[in-house]
Amino acid sequence: MPRIEPPVTPLAEPYWDATRRRELVAQRCDACDRFVWYPREVCPGCLSAELDWAPLAGTGTIYTFNVMRKPGNPMMGDDVPYVVALVDLDEGIRMTTNVVGADGSLRCDQRVRVDWSVELSDGRRLPVFRVTDD
């Protein structure tokens, strides 16, 4: 599945490095102890710049999703239909992702777990999600 491949900014390098090891990480604010998604310079809760990288469990719930019948960009033209979702991770952050392996019964609030099957050309991986039974 060809993807738009985002640049590795210095800020997000630890994130991408972790994906090569199939590990999901995000920034956590030392000052107010909240996780932050997406990677940024300061905590959007308290403006502290004291952000460390911390592991995520890789589990969450589907906040909302769609089924893309027209591709979001020309590179994904052969991949329709595919599912774009906003997933609420158990650490309290919401990320844009795909739900893979879904059938027609997908619904909001279903539990999902990270899936590392999508690899970019340079070995980085895009975390996507798959519905779990729990």
């Binding site: 993807r3 738009i4 491949e5 985002p6 640049p7 900014t9 997000a12 998604w37 997406y38 906040y63 909302t64 999703f65 769609n66 089924v67 893309m68 019948r69 027209k70 591709p71 979001g72 960009n73 020309p74 590179m75 994904m76 991949d79 239909p81 595919y82 774009v84 979702a85 906003l86 919401r94 990320m95 844009t96 992702t97 795909n98 619904r107 909001c108 609030d109 895009l126 996507v128």
Partner: protein, 418 residues
């Protein structure tokens, strides 16, 4: 001079802040209320969606048209506002020979022109300028479509959108709005039929508009039978892609009284935003910033929902219109589906909405907010032709830009409402 201007500004700000909100509504009119008026309004669209002129040509044409409409000349203009280009208002001033003493190139996507009206009214009320021209032109059909192709998008490759959303194939505008629609359906039981009714009602208005892109009536079944773009949104839940242009002239209430057309007063204004281009950062995707900008604008205007004769709102997608009606308070959050179901928004309905046909059926060059304002002015001047809402005195114009990111609400009224 500087001291004098600063003193005026300070006194305006001081008056603005002094009374608590309850007093503002009941005792002391807000200093912005009816301080300025829209005195010129034109737009250009084409039933085949193409205008056959460049953006630059259209800008000049629209500015000339709006000034003619107002009975003013370019020599009267001391402020330009535009979204187009880098340092857009400066470049436009250079081309037109206008030296501004206030300027605004604010870009908030589709709500930019409502924001411009708010800023123009504030600047005029504070004595910072007297005649502001707001202009927009875009030719995605005849020229280059800035929204096509799924490129790096706004902000380039370092943007959050490019890094964290586009790799997942979220590039199409409908993709983000479908996420909002899905959650609205989940939380409130909103149905595809109810969303379709919005497209049907706006099309009923377009049937009465000889300039609309679509002039054939449609049914709910037609909407549901149109191809899925991003489930749960069908093609006919999505706005058009057409060429379009427009311009507005805003001046002081005092000067407006002597001009060619009946003034359309800016009675209230409010702007709010929740996030940028990443809908993952919006929070509750079923509530737009209109829940903030709407009440602020209506309080400033001193009006209630029963005073509103016509609503012009952003219908990039049917779900945008539905959530906006809820957020503006015309019905409770979650009740939008029922609210729109009986044709309330269409011709003959109790809340005439998007009387030109909207972005779904009239025109949508990428930023529909200009046409919201032009149609509101036409309705309040009684120039609506077959689609005129009889006796319209108060209109709400609500822009929504980005991906449900930034709303700006303008309350407009006739002389009778001053």
């Amino acid at each position: 001079m500087i001291t004098e201007t600063a003193a005026v500004l300070c006194s305006v700000v001081a008056r603005w802040r002094r009374p608590p909100q309850e007093d503002l509504e009941t005792l002391v009119p807000h200093p912005l209320r009816a301080a300025a008026a829209i005195v010129g309004a034109v737009d250009a669209v084409s039933p085949d969606g193409r205008l056959g002129r460049s953006d630059a040509q259209l800008e000049v044409e629209m500015i000339r048209g709006a000034l003619d409409d107002a009975g003013l000349t370019i020599a009267d203009v001391d402020c330009l506002m535009t979204t187009n280009g880098m340092m857009g208002s400066l470049e436009l001033g250079e081309r037109l020979g206008v030296r501004g003493r206030f300027t605004d190139s604010t870009m908030t996507g589709g709500s930019s022109f409502e924001v411009h009206v708010e800023h123009a009214a504030a600047a005029i009320a504070a004595g910072l300028c007297e005649v502001a021209v707001i202009v927009y032109a875009a030719t995605p059909r005849g020229g280059k479509n800035p929204f096509a192709g799924g490129g790096p998008g706004i902000g380039g490759q370092d943007s959050a959108l490019f890094q964290w959303d586009l790799p997942y194939g979220l590039g199409l505008p409908a993709a983000s709005y479908s996420l909002a629609a899905q959650r609205h359906m989940h939380d409130f039981g909103t149905t595809s039929e109810q969303l379709a009714q919005i497209a049907v009602s706006f099309r009923e208005w377009a049937v009465k508009n000889p300039n609309a892109y679509h002039q054939d009536p449609i049914t709910i079944d037609d909407v549901l039978a149109s191809p899925m773009v991003a489930e749960p949104l069908h093609k006919l839940d999505c706005c058009l892609v057409t060429d379009g242009a427009g311009a507005l002239v805003v001046t002081s209430a005092e000067r407006a009284r002597d001009l060619a057309r009946p003034p359309v007063y800016v009675l209230g204004a409010g702007t709010a935003h929740t996030h940028g281009m990443s809908i993952s950062q919006m929070g509750d995707v079923t509530t737009t910033a209109a829940a903030v900008s709407g009440p602020q604008a209506m309080a400033m205007a001193g009006i209630g929902h029963g005073d509103v004769d016509v609503v012009e709102l952003y219908d990039s997608f049917t779900i945008t219109a539905l959530m906006t009606l809820e957020d503006l308070g015309f019905c409770a959050k979650g009740e939008g589906g029922d609210f729109v179901s009986d044709g309330r928004l269409g011709p003959g309905g109790v809340l005439p909405t998007n009387t030109n046909g909207g972005g779904l059926s009239y025109t949508h060059p990428g930023m529909y907010g200009m046409f919201i304002l032009v149609e509101a002015v036409r309705q309040l001047r009684g120039e609506g032709g077959d689609r005129q809402v009889p006796g319209a005195e108060v209109a709400i114009a609500n822009g929504c830009g980005g991906v449900l990111s930034c709303t700006s609400t303008i309350v407009l009224g006739t002389e009778a409402t001053r």
